[in-house]
């Protein structure tokens, strides 16, 4: 059995770790609340943006637009959203797996990394990480999304890449986060997704100023920027949610270990007292 001193030392170390994880849990809970409210405030914008672009596309069928038809480049740009810090359970590794196990040829992938963890992992694996926007993850702004969007769309227009993907973690609710990879460009409208019957009626009458092709070439970049922004804030919420869960588990484990060590410590103490007593009694009887 380990000595009393060893057990005591171990217990102290577990206690202080437990305090740290507990504090981290509280911090990420607060951050999660913020991030969550951001996600909720942003939702209507994306819903309407998505509806608008779908309705325009379903009306202007057969429109050929450079942003709709893919380039012939085999390269694929992937925007990977991860976190800057670790200790968030499987959050980062799940997002990275979308790329490493997503059926992409390593040489065909150009990564635009948002988040230090994802960038470091992919650099180590030998991926081509073109740009790093990690500082964005501290507080994503819409202008950051515009910046990233402009960069990838420029690569797309220059025919450097033929497709653009976005890998991030959807924030479904506090406990459910789904790592997903989405294709941004070339854009494919979802079939039969005109949600309200009324819109069809509006569509037949809809006028475009300027022409629908021009409107399209203005709106698609806005759509891409919007989706990127949405991904950033959802990923931030997911990150904090994941960290909160991970830290909650860690705190629980620490408490369990402390209880266990406490028991061991008491036993060891009892053992040493018994031993001392036996020794004294034995010594006394030897003298008599």
């Amino acid at each position: 059995m380990a000595s009393m001193r060893d057990i005591k030392r171990r217990k102290e170390s577990v206690t202080s770790t437990g305090q740290i994880t507990k504090a981290m849990k509280l911090v990420s809970t607060v951050k999660l609340q913020h991030a969550k409210s951001h996600v909720e405030e942003a939702k209507p914008y994306f819903q309407h943006l998505y509806d608008a672009i779908n309705s325009i596309l379903s009306k202007s069928e057969g429109v050929s637009h450079p942003l709709l038809s893919g380039g012939d480049s085999k390269k694929k740009a992937i925007i990977l959203v991860t976190s800057n810090r670790g200790l968030a359970g499987g959050y980062n590794s799940n997002a990275i797996k979308l790329i490493t196990k997503g059926g992409f040829e390593k040489d065909d992938v150009v990564v635009y990394a948002v988040g230090r963890k994802g960038k470091e992992a992919l650099v180590n694996l030998g991926y081509d990480v073109r740009k790093d926007y990690s500082e964005v993850m501290n507080k994503p702004l819409f202008s950051d999304a515009v910046e990233i969007g402009r960069e990838v769309m420029q690569a797309f227009k220059d025919n450097e890449v033929g497709e653009i993907y976005l890998a991030y973690t959807i924030f479904k609710n506090t406990v459910v986060h789904i790592p997903t990879i989405k294709r941004l460009l070339p854009f494919v409208p979802e079939e039969g997704d005109v949600r309200e019957k009324k819109t069809i009626e509006d569509l037949t009458l809809m006028n475009y100023e300027p022409e629908s092709e021009e409107v399209l070439s203005e709106i698609i970049p806005k759509y891409v920027n919007g989706i990127i922004y949405g991904a950033l804030i959802e990923a931030l919420a997911s990150e904090n949610g994941a960290r909160m869960q991970a830290m909650d588990n860690a705190t629980n484990n620490a408490e369990e270990m402390i209880a266990d060590l406490e028991l061991k410590y008491n036993r060891a103490r009892q053992g040493s007292i018994t031993q001392e007593l036996t020794e004294i009694v034995a010594g006394a009887s030897a003298i008599n």
Binding site: A42, Y45, A52, F142, E201, L203, N207, E209, I219, K222
Partner: protein
């Protein structure tokens, strides 16, 4: 004219900027200034930086609308703005700085994209200054 009301929604990525009813909506598109009354034909247009006026009876609300697009439907108007602000949210000093910066860039700029961006920034700055000083 001013009896018929229609619904207006102005939505930014960060928040729902404005939601309410009005009888006249004025704003600037890439094709020029437009005014919308109830019963307007369905229209989709791209927004250019300009002042947006939301009129409801005697009350008029003014806001700086910088970028985005507008969808006029039969029963409501939907504006998806990338950035939009009320006059009292504008930072006048920042706008003035931005104006100087954009002018400086316009003078020294080469390449078409840079000019476009600088012009856009200049228009935004001018609009902000204008709204701020006339509020």
């Amino acid at each position: 004219m001013a009896d018929k009301l229609f619904k207006v929604q102005v939505i930014c990525p960060e928040r729902v900027f404005y939601e309410g009813e009005c009888d006249l909506l004025e704003l600037k598109t890439t094709e020029g200034d437009i005014g919308i009354l109830a019963g307007h034909i369905p229209l989709t247009a791209i927004i250019a930086p300009g002042a947006m006026k939301i009129k409801n009876g005697a009350e008029t609300k003014v806001a700086a609308l910088h970028d985005g697009f507008i969808e006029v439907l039969t029963d409501k108007v939907l504006i998806l703005a990338e950035s939009c602000e009320w006059p009292d949210e504008i930072d006048l000093n920042r706008a003035k700085e931005a104006k100087v910066r954009a002018e400086r860039r316009l003078k020294g700029a080469d390449g078409e994209i840079d000019v476009k961006r600088a012009e856009f920034a200049l228009r935004k700055a001018l609009l902000r200054i204008d709204l701020c000083e006339n509020k």
